[in-house]
Amino acid sequence: MRRWLMTAALLALSTGCNKTPEEKVGPTVDGQLEPVANPHQPGDFGELPDPEAQNGSVGRAARRLTVSQLDAAILEAVGRRWVNGSDGIDARATSLGRADFALVSSENTEPNLVFAKFLEDGARFVCIAQAADELKQADPTKRTLSRTLPGTWGDLRTLTDAQVREFLVYNSLRFWGAPLEGDELTKWAGFFTQAATRAETANPKRRADVLAVMCIAMLTDQRFITY
């Protein structure tokens, strides 16, 4: 009798411990993806180095753009090539690092003093010329640097903070492929506002310089010349 009672109690307990299957709650939210199994197998890829092991830096070591890449990048970002008569990127290519295949057979991509100075020269040339052109262009779709600004722009102090930030995020994406955000965006917005204020107090007004200085700062930033 006792044996029968023990068996009945164990059966009752085991039934109580069984899980009931979970019911799915509602449909998949729009934009929510079903988990997909990792298509990569171990050995297909090398893992990125641990940021802790390289002073907090993320990803592989960066490389400097070659002269051809720099030429294409300036054209894409600013909207014009660095060619100023007989001067420009072609004339200075050898000192910027391009191989001449006579004495030097491999491109030098070291960002040395000559590169830094010539990039500054090039940035000033293309940015100042492009900014001056864009000041006269009323159609935003035909502009490069000031695509996000109103149709005809003048006093840049009148832009709202949101418009300034939109301008900076758009151009940072254009120049670096990475948007400005957080504290850094605030820093750049302050720089924009400072330049816009000065442009209006100058006599004559130097409105194009605001666009130019932002362009120069972004084009000479290390994020522009590396990948």
Partner: protein, 465 residues
């Protein structure tokens, strides 16, 4: 005993150091403007020890330069036996001697015999010169020999190993000059020093001027100041995390150097065409005109002198002259092309001998000049009337830190083969060792008390002053 020393000559005054330190502190706190403060505080003063590496491009005929042979002894009749034909009688151009030069200046006779291409103007500087002969280059390839002499290390294939000697010197000495290291139309390597040791590498003089002068297009002056301040602000953590690290750091260092160079307005120092008394004297000394086109041997020599004397650079490596790869050329072509280089070099040495150095003595007492080519040309003339590549080589070391009016080593009397020597004494011995470029580079480093351990050989001690 090999030495690891810091630069003994680099002793900034306490006041200057504090001003410079304040400049750098300021740069951290307030942005780029204080780089100017640093530059101004440091001032322009020539380095106490300067170096010039002069490259003759193409492989020179050493019979015409630093290793001549007596044409009366090495005659055409004996060429089959000696495998040497000086061919001085084949230079049918005025101004070239038909025998080796051994000048006598002020009653002192030169111990060094020079080939006819060197010319009397250069040969008379024997009193500040050591010549090394019978160097074994171990290669007949242009790039390999050239990079071997630039670095003191045998390349791997044709790829250079290690740092250029100029970079090594600047890396060890850490000079305070604005552009420590200039490489003019030559390669430069840096495999272990920070960005300050990198050479300012330009391929033509116009590019040097473009590098030194401020950008021609400027923004509103206040906006320019805002840009400088903005660039000098400390970066955010995010920028640091996704920053370009090595490349980015080098670029930032280069930008810092650029700020400093711009502030010094060094470009005017190289405007040789300017109508000023100083430039007039310089043009006279180097035989320049006022055309403004100075991409010549003479113009390059004037550029070297200016860079050193104005305290702009400590090391200059220069491709002085070329056109020496004369497989099909004549003796006259080789001699003429060499002469342009040696004439310019003679003017440079004369200038350095005359110019007072602020630390005392003349500039030549503070400057070491190494003159080299990647290899030499065959001692026999080929069927086309030219000479091909030859293994044995020679070079000259001029100025500070080495013995003067001295010859070390000797090429063989049969086929000008590289010799074997007791390198501690310089005596030729069949059981001795070859002289290699690394011995010469070790000697140049040791002449300034620098660490030469990278060469893995001992310097040629008999040469050291």
């Amino acid at each position: 005993m090999k030495k690891n020393r810091t630069d003994d000559n680099h002793r900034p005054e306490r006041r200057t150091f504090l001003k410079a330190a304040a400049g750098f502190m300021g740069s951290t706190l307030f942005g780029g403007v204080p780089f100017r403060a640093f530059a101004q505080a440091a001032g322009l003063a020539p380095a106490d020890r300067c170096f010039v590496f002069v490259y003759f491009n193409g492989g020179w005929d050493q019979l015409l330069a630093f290793d001549p042979k007596d044409p009366d002894e090495f005659t055409a009749d004996r060429a089959a036996e000696t495998r040497i034909l000086p061919g001085y009688n084949l230079i049918n151009t005025a101004g070239y001697e038909s025998i080796p030069l051994q000048p006598d200046v002020g009653g002192v006779r030169s111990n060094i015999a020079f080939g006819p291409a060197v010319g009397n103007e250069f040969a008379k500087h024997f009193d500040v010169m050591t010549v090394v002969r019978g160097i074994n280059m171990n290669t007949l390839g242009h790039e390999v020999g050239y990079r071997y002499f630039l670095t003191g290390k045998m390349p791997i294939g044709s790829a250079a190993r290690g740092s250029s000697t100029a970079t090594e010197i600047v890396g060890q000495m850490k000079p305070r000059v604005p552009i420590s290291n200039i490489a003019f139309n030559v390669e430069s390597y840096n495999d272990r020093y920070p960005g300050y040791a990198n050479a300012l590498r330009v391929s033509r003089k116009d590019d040097l001027l473009l590098t030194l002068k401020p950008s021609s297009q400027m923004l509103d002056s206040e906006i320019e100041k805002q840009l400088v301040d903005f660039r000098g602000q400390p970066i955010t953590c995010e920028e640091a995390a996704y920053g370009a690290r090595g490349v980015g750091t080098t670029y930032q260092n280069s930008r810092g150097q650029m700020e400093q160079v711009m502030a010094q307005q060094l470009e005017a120092s190289f405007r040789f065409e300017l109508n000023t008394p100083e430039m007039g004297l310089l043009r006279d000394a180097y035989g320049l005109d006022t055309s403004g086109r100075y991409d010549t041997e003479a113009g390059r020599a004037a550029m070297v002198a200016t860079a050193l004397k104005k305290g702009i650079a400590q090391c200059v490596t220069i491709n002085l002259t070329g056109g020496l790869d004369t497989h099909f050329g004549t003796q006259a072509t080789q001699a003429t092309n060499q002469r342009r280089g040696f004439a310019a070099l003679a003017n440079l040495i004369t200038d350095l001998k005359k110019s007072d150095h602020p630390s005392g003595g003349k500039f030549i007492d503070h400057t070491t000049i190494m003159v080299f080519s990647e290899f030499s040309r065959t001692p026999l003339i080929n069927a086309a009337g030219g000479r091909d590549h030859h293994l044995s080589n020679s070079c000259a070391i001029i100025g500070a830190g080495v013995k003067h009016n001295y010859v070390f080593g000797k090429s063989g009397d049969i086929g000008m083969s590289p010799g074997t020597f007791d390198l501690r004494t310089g005596a030729a011995t069949p059981t001795g060792e070859n002289i290699f470029p690394e011995h010469v580079i070790a000697t140049v480093l040791a002449s300034a008390g620098l660490d030469y351990s990278i060469t893995r050989v001992e310097p040629l001690r008999p040469i050291l002053a």
